[in-house]
Amino acid sequence: MLSRVADSCFWLSRYLERAETNSRILDVNIQIALDFEENNDEKVRQQWMPILSAAKERELFRQIHGEVTSEAIMDFVTFEKTNSSSILSSMTLARENARTVREQISSEMWEQINRLYLYLQSPAARTAFRESPIGFFRLLVDNLHSFQGITDATMTHGEGWQFIQAGKYIERADSTSRVLDFKYHLLLPSGEQVGGNVDITQWMAVLRSCSAMEAYFKISRGHVTSWQVAEFLILHDTFPRSIRFCVDALDQALHSISGVDRGHFSNEAERLSGALRSNLAFTTVDSIFRFGLHQYLDQTQERLNEISNALAETYYRWT
């Protein structure tokens, strides 16, 4: 397959996953906000600012909106064209990439992306967003899920599909680590204790934004603790949004592309993904916390980034 096509498959998939992550995070944050009615400006700021994870984003937000309100943040993360990681920007980039590989992906996949993009651009989307933000973000997530189903059901599971899988899982591993890290940056209001109501609510929000609540409660017998949630979202072996699961699926996709057996490597991307995969398989949540949760997540994001670069080096960069 053409290198450029592989690259576009990989990125269209990453951008869609990114749009989905942002939709989930906003959905969940609205729900938390609704749980704590006695909002003052400071609380609003504490709760919404961490959504803007990068300094660059926070700066741009200040330039455009100035004041922090939940509406302003939601608008900025959803519709702001100049914000390169907004949902609309991600959808636009996903569609641009899809357009360049229209003859490689199925018509059904293209139409799903195109419909969703056209919808996001339409006044109808603004209206739905105003009337029920939760309903609006759910609709986006549903449609992005449909895309996954359409992709599995209509595209040959060959090389292009594997690049789509690689993009999806690398982005998803990254998202899960960011959502966990997001909780790290959420300050507990003064007077609140670790393990107290607010703390638990926040951890539950983290679970919800990974669609992990139901799965989590099946194994946790009703307890919500930081280390259990972290263990579940980082190390669970079969939950499809845990970092370990995603890295495993990424590693599988990379090996399907090269045709090399798992446990071996034929290029740098495979070597790095194999190393990360075995680290995740053999570490424990205790050692993660001893190392420092934030540091561990940071390091994981860095390693995912290296895999992405190595992938480009192996398959896309021709001189």
């Binding site: 053409l2 003859e103 018509s107 139409e111 056209l118």
Partner: protein, 485 residues
Amino acid sequence: MAQGFFDRYESEGFFDEMFEGDGKVRPHYQRILERFSEMDAQTFERKRALAEKAYLNQGITFTIYSGDEGTERIMPFDLVPRIIPSDEWKVLERGLEQRLRALNLFLHDIYHEQRIIREGIIPLEIIRTAKHYRPELIGVDVPHDIYIHVCGTDLIRGADGGYLVLEDNGRCPSGVSYLLENRQAMKRVFPHLFSRYPVRPVDRYPQELLAALRYVAPHGNLDPTVVVLTPGIYNSAYFEHSFLARSMGIEIVTNQDLIVKDDFVYMKTTKGLKKVDVIYRRVDDDFLDPTVFRKDSMLGVPGIVNAYRKGNVNLANALGTGVADDKVTYYYVPAMIRFYLGEEPILPNVETFLSAVDTDRKYILENLENLVIKAANESGGYGMMIGPKATREEIEKFRAAIIADPRGYIAQPVISLSRSPCYCDGVFEGRHIDLRPYILMGEKTTIIPGGLTRVAMRKGSLVVNSSQGGGTKDTWVLDEGGQPC
């Protein structure tokens, strides 16, 4: 006839595709008229919206640039089909085939012996000064001597309904994807019409195109790698490029994907370099190779022309076919047909005056306000003036241009193009149309039944190009014995 829809329809003295002079419907349109007359404006509007939505969702759009943002538009699609009876089509088919045969012989001749010049049929000066003539290619052989593999010949019908050739597009004619998608849209919106009409299918086009492309592979390679070369997603016809690649099941590439090594062309894949044998290129000659043609081209593949000259890769259409598209060359096509084939042209040209010829120029300059003036090397409805509709300044501007560059212009009488009913703001009104059939030349010549019917959507306008507000219609060629049942 039912009330409303067609009651007030007027042919206004033009040749109308659907109605004869006295307002009587032509027999092959009878069932269409009945079906449409059963509908009210609301139903029709709903059908129209349905078709439009399908185009938008599928991204069947072209891009219009204004300012820094390009807007994606769908091409206006009119739901009244244009119908061609089978006996009428047979004549067109023979005429188009004859014309393409002559054009290919002409191109081979021009880049080899130049007999047609030496025998005094076409003046050397005309060829030498044609903008798209490529002397670099003299002596270069192309597989099976085919230069124009895909031709989009524009046909019009004048006041008496006779077909005339308006121009031959032998470079990168576009629009065929609309033809195919229009048929899909019509089937979606009016499924029952097709059971009443013996409409000849068009959907084999991509397979026929692929067969033609495979046939012209270098060195008689029986299993060539064929690709579509596009300028990229920002090109206004990108949808079509991708559509054709998808329907042929081959790769679509940009110049970034190609590399020339030792005079062979390769594409960059995840498994390494892969040799490319035939390129259906939708990039103009000028931009194809910055080492040979325009140095500033960002769309080109350095070295590709040398690979082509050495016969290691084939391009469709061939390089240098633009010399046959020149509107001054067009004037000589009937003469070419007589010269190379010893046959009489089946499809006539529009009467044409060359301002390069003294007597013609005198006539042109005296009659500017009654003539259509066209620049010899422009297309897409640009560089042209319709005398009766032009302002004083425009006429003077063209007068000066003709005097300064007589070789650069031709003139034709204004042809009142035939009209077809089109749905315009709730009623049917006549709009001028033309027809662009697509002719493929490979092992055999294949013409997709019908072609793209283009419509000048603006009232009274004679310009059908999409860049100038044109729309399209589905075109039906009826099968043998073709009466609607």
